[in-house]
Symmetry: C2
Subunit: 143 residues, 2 copies
DNA sequence: ACAAATAAAGTTGCACGCAACTTAATTGCA
DNA sequence: TGCAATTAAGTTGCGTGCAACTTTATTTGT
C-alpha cells in the first residue's frame, strides 16, 4: 500500500489551494474596481492591447475558450468596460476593444501588483525563480 | 507608467493557469473513475479517514466551505460513494463516511499519482522543493 | 466554381466556489 | 434557568470553466 494517495503529497492540491487563496486575496480589492478575478486577468491583457484584440487571441493568452469568454466579455460589455465588434474583413472574428472607461480603470489598478506582492512574503529574486519554475511546469504539462 | 500590470509578470496568473492545466490533465483519467477533480481531492481525504469525518473537518482540509461541499457530497452520495449521517451526540454535525464502493475505488486510483508525476517532468527532488515553496506561500497568504 | 473541411464565436448544460443567508442545535453567561 | 451568541450544515444566486453542440463565415481541394 503506497502512500502516494495522500493529499499533502499532491502538487495538484497545492495549486488548487493557492489559486483559491489568490482569488480570495484579490477579491476585495478588485470589488472596488467592479471586477472579478478572471475579469481582472482579462483586463491585464486588454490594457496591453488598447487597439483591440480578437476573442480567439485573448482566449489563447488567458487559456480560455469561447465558452467561458463569450459570457464573461458580455458581462464586461454591459459594465461599459469594452465593446465587441465583428471584423469586416473576416466576419467570423469579433474584436474586443476597451472603452475610455476601461482604459482609465488601469490607473485604479496600478497599486494592486505591489500590494499583492507584499502579501506573498517573497523576495523579488524568489518571485522571479518561482515564476520560472512554474513556467517550466506549464510548458511540460501543456505540450 | 510601470509595467507591473503585465499578465506575464503575475504569479497569480501562473497559479490560475497551472490549476486549470492540472484539472484538464486529471479529467480524462478521473472520468474513468466517475470522479471530477474536486471530488478526487475529497476522496484523497476520505481514503485517509475511512472511519468517517465531519463536513467541517473535511472542509478545513480541502479549504472549502459548506456552500461548496454540501452539494458536492450530495452528488457523491447519489453515486453511492459515501453516506452522510447526523451525529447523535451533536445533531449539528454530519459525518461523511465512505461506502464499500468508495473504499475499493482507492485501488483504481493508485496508479494516478505516478502517472501524473511523470507528466510534470520534475525530478523527485524538484517536486519536493517546489512543494515546500508552495507550502510556504500558502502559509504566508492564508495567515 | 463549389462542396467539404475548417475556423471563430456563441449557446446549453452541469459542476464547482463563494458570498450571503437560513435553519437547527449547542454553548455560554447573566 | 433562560436567552443571546455561537456553531454546523444547508440553500440561493451568480460567475466562472469546460464539454458538447450550433451557427455563420472562410478556406481548401478538385
Amino acid at each position: 500500500m503506497s502512500d502516494n494517495l495522500l493529499l499533502e503529497k499532491q502538487l495538484c492540491f497545492r495549486l488548487y489551494s493557492l489559486n483559491k487563496l489568490m482569488c480570495r486575496l484579490y477579491a476585495p480589492i478588485l470589488k472596488e474596481l467592479g471586477l472579478t478575478y478572471p475579469q481582472y486577468l482579462a483586463m491585464l491583457v486588454l490594457w496591453q492591447n488598447t487597439e483591440g484584440i480578437s476573442v480567439k487571441d485573448l482566449g489563447s493568452q488567458l487559456d480560455l475558450d469561447s465558452g467561458t469568454l463569450s459570457p464573461l466579455l458580455k458581462r464586461m460589455e454591459v459594465q461599459g468596460l469594452l465593446t465587441r465588434v465583428r471584423q469586416s474583413t473576416d466576419e467570423r472574428v469579433v474584436i474586443v476593444k476597451l472603452t475610455h472607461k476601461g482604459i482609465v480603470l488601469q490607473q485604479s489598478a496600478e497599486h494592486i501588483p505591489g500590494e499583492m506582492f507584499a502579501v506573498t512574503g517573497l523576495t523579488p529574486d524568489k518571485l522571479q525563480s518561482l515564476n520560472l519554475e512554474l513556467d517550466q511546469l506549464i510548458v511540460n504539462i501543456s505540450d
